[in-house]
């Protein structure tokens, strides 16, 4: 007789295997497409932040009225945005093929 706890253990293991396979398959297939889309959106958002909050990076724009309205929403992303814009890039960066 199979012990119910053993059966449960096997079901858990099988479930874990299934999830692993599913994730690997996702990585091989649509992950890159999803990543490209997210990148595209992030790039546009970064451009938007640049034209409204550019003075944070020393770009001489007069902060418009909307800058203050948008500031609370932008604050959580400011660190990432500054890193992304200020990071030095070279050709080896392009190996990721997002050119």
């Amino acid at each position: 007789m199979v012990n119910p706890s053993q059966l449960l253990n096997w079901r858990t293991r099988l479930g874990k295997c299934w999830r692993t396979l599913r994730d690997i398959f996702y990585g091989m297939t649509t992950y890159e497409m999803v990543r490209d889309l997210k990148k595209e959106r992030a790039r546009l958002e970064h451009l938007f932040v640049l034209i409204t909050m550019g003075d944070w990076l020393g770009i001489p724009i007069l902060p418009p009225y909307y800058t203050l309205r948008l500031l609370p929403y932008v604050v959580p992303h400011l660190a990432g945005w500054k890193c992304c814009l200020l990071r030095e890039r070279d050709l080896t960066d392009l190996t990721d093929f997002e050119t």
Partner: protein, 582 residues
């Protein structure tokens, strides 16, 4: 020896290499710590730095590194006998391949996601970065030449192949439109496009379609156009370049991405079907196929390829060790790693899986095709035909007719090459704009930049001998791998860690790659000096010889700078050690 025994040996290689050697290096030297924040989390910007699940990243890494290399390399290398090729695939991965892939990720993660360009600038010299970038450009050009020749000259000239390939391209575009514009479910899109792609491959085998493409080729024996290039080779390589142009200039969602997606299914199903077929069949390696042929790679009536050392070690690049992996690992994967402990699983694990793919390819040539057919096909220059025949034989064991399996194998290979080629052209376009954009502003124009990259590629495709081009491509690839190992060694030394596990592979790969490039340079230049070659081969040989010498000199300069940097690092670390001892 039975094919299943060969697969079991490679599985044992994976077990020993990954679970004993790699894990011990990971545990004792690198000592990954999940409490440290990775760049993916620290600099998460949604663009370059984004954390991803380890299994997802494993799939991404494997797909990014496994292209035509692990398939074509072993097929050529069995000319020295299947045993040396198999040993290099297994031992190369065990002691060199995973080291480079894994350590590239670790260095990227510990150095805040910096790429090898930036690291070579910091750890070696300003000149080192410039040389590395020139290397990458030359390497990409050689990818275009090697892949372009195999697709344009060998695969597409088979009248049963072009329809399948062109239909997959069209269906890939349709998949992009269905997904992004019509917002259709990805499962439905996949089902429709992949099924239609298989129908397209089958249609290519139908009599009237083959006759049509045969007419385009100018008959069964295509007429010579110039030098030794036939009309069919010229025409189909031009078509390939046009496809690359579209891939490099159209938005990535419109062309490259969805076509890659549909092509993935064609390739993936082929690998699964071939593996099952081999397991069901489980034949022995034919006794007439020599385990070791001769030191100069002379197999039967085939002419000698060159000395086993160094040429075998660059002929099989991907599948044992490849410089390309270090670029993908450091600039792509390292920035998506969620935890430090995932590095070995993602980098090392996918390299060991690629080794398995290379072993399958080796069996395709030895078991699937057999000695007599192998010699016949390679003698005709149909390297790709070896793989198609082998895959068709494997698939036949699970009921797929050979008449379908043969063109399917060719379409499979063509897609694997093309999906890389148009991305390479895209890269070359940006690279040339970066290099000379200030001096020649017109090169910044997308169309002009792409056409210049394609013109260089066309020159390489239409001239020279394929085997030399492949060895040059392997040499450049392995040289890049050795430079990556050098940067890794320098980094390990700067952190006062044991660096011999990366430095010894560097010394072996560096000397081997330089020797391979010089051997190739000698072979092509002496062939020219002997005379009697058609004009295209003469031009191609001079280009190949020049490239080989140029890459060698550049690599020696870079190594000189690196040795100076290493002594600098040793000089810095010794007083620190003395202070710690006191």
């Amino acid at each position: 020896m039975n094919a299943i025994v060969v697969l079991i040996i490679s599985l044992i290689g994976i077990g020993v290499g990954y679970f004993l050697y790699a894990k011990s290096i990971d545990r004792t030297i690198i000592q990954p710590d999940d409490s440290k924040t990775t760049p993916a989390k620290m600099y998460m910007d949604g663009v370059d730095f984004t954390p991803a699940n380890r299994n997802v990243l494993f799939g991404y890494q494997f797909k990014s590194v496994a292209a035509l290399g692990p398939i074509v390399g072993p097929i050529i290398a069995v000319r020295w006998g299947w045993l040396p090729a198999l040993l290099w695939v297994i031992l190369g991965t065990m002691f060199l391949g995973w080291v480079q892939d894994y350590a590239s990720i670790v260095v990227g993660v510990r150095e805040e996601g910096q790429t090898f360009g930036a690291l070579s600038f910091r750890l070696i010299s300003r000149r080192a970065r410039t040389i590395l970038l020139i290397f990458i450009y030359a390497y990409l050009l050689l990818i275009m030449a090697a892949f372009g020749k195999i697709v344009g000259f060998d695969l597409m000239t088979n009248p049963a192949v072009p329809l399948g390939v062109l239909l997959v391209m069209g269906l890939g575009m349709a998949a992009g439109h269905m997904t992004y514009k019509l917002k259709m479910d990805i499962l439905v899109t996949t089902l429709i496009t992949v099924v239609l792609a298989f129908v397209g491959i089958w249609l290519g085998t139908v009599g009237p379609v083959k006759s049509l493409f045969l007419a385009i080729n100018g008959g069964a024996t295509s007429p010579l156009l110039f030098g030794s290039v036939t009309w069919a080779q010229f025409f189909w390589s031009l078509v390939v370049l046009v496809l690359c142009y579209l891939g490099a200039t159209l938005p990535i969602w419109r062309w490259a991405q969805p076509i890659n997606y549909v092509a993935f299914w064609i390739v993936f199903l082929g690998i699964i079907g071939g593996t099952i077929g081999l397991a069901v069949w489980h034949p022995a390696i034919p006794v007439d196929f020599p385990a070791v042929s001769s030191y100069d790679g002379k197999l039967g009536t085939l002419s000698a390829l060159g000395p086993l050392w160094p040429l075998l070690f660059v002929t099989i690049a991907c599948g044992a060790i490849s410089g390309w992996h270090s670029l993908v690992s450091s600039s792509g994967t390292a920035r998506q790693l969620e935890n430090e402990t995932d590095a070995l699983y993602v980098g090392g694990g996918s390299m060991f899986l690629e080794m398995f793919l290379a072993t399958l390819s080796l069996l395709c040539a030895t078991v699937g095709v057999g000695y007599a057919k192998y010699v016949e096909l390679v003698g005709k220059g149909a390297i790709a035909g070896v793989f198609s025949n082998g895959l068709a034989t494997f698939l036949n064991q699970v009921g797929v007719p050979v008449s379908f399996g043969l063109p399917y194998g060719s379409v499979f290979l063509t897609l694997m090459a093309l999906t890389i080629m148009y991305l390479v052209v895209r890269f070359m376009r940006v690279a040339s704009a970066e290099f000379i954009g200030d001096a020649v502003p017109v090169i910044r124009n997308t169309a002009v930049g792409t056409i210049v990259a394609l013109a260089f590629s066309a020159l390489m495709i239409w001239t020279g001998f394929w085997s030399y081009v492949w060895i040059l491509f392997g040499g450049a690839n392995q040289l890049m791998a050795s430079l990556a190992l050098l940067i890794i060694s320098l980094w390990l030394k700067s952190k006062e860690k044991n660096y011999m596990w990366a430095f010894l592979p560097f010394i072996f790969m560096f000397i081997t790659s330089i020797a391979a490039l010089l051997t190739t340079a000698w072979q092509v230049i002496s062939a020219n000096l002997r005379g009697g070659l058609p004009i295209d081969k003469v031009v191609g040989n001079w280009i190949a010889g020049f490239l080989a010498i140029f890459l060698t000199i550049a690599a020696l300069v870079l190594a000189w700078d690196a040795i100076k940097a290493l002594t600098r690092v040793v000089g810095v670390s010794k007083p620190a050690q003395a202070k710690a001892d006191a």
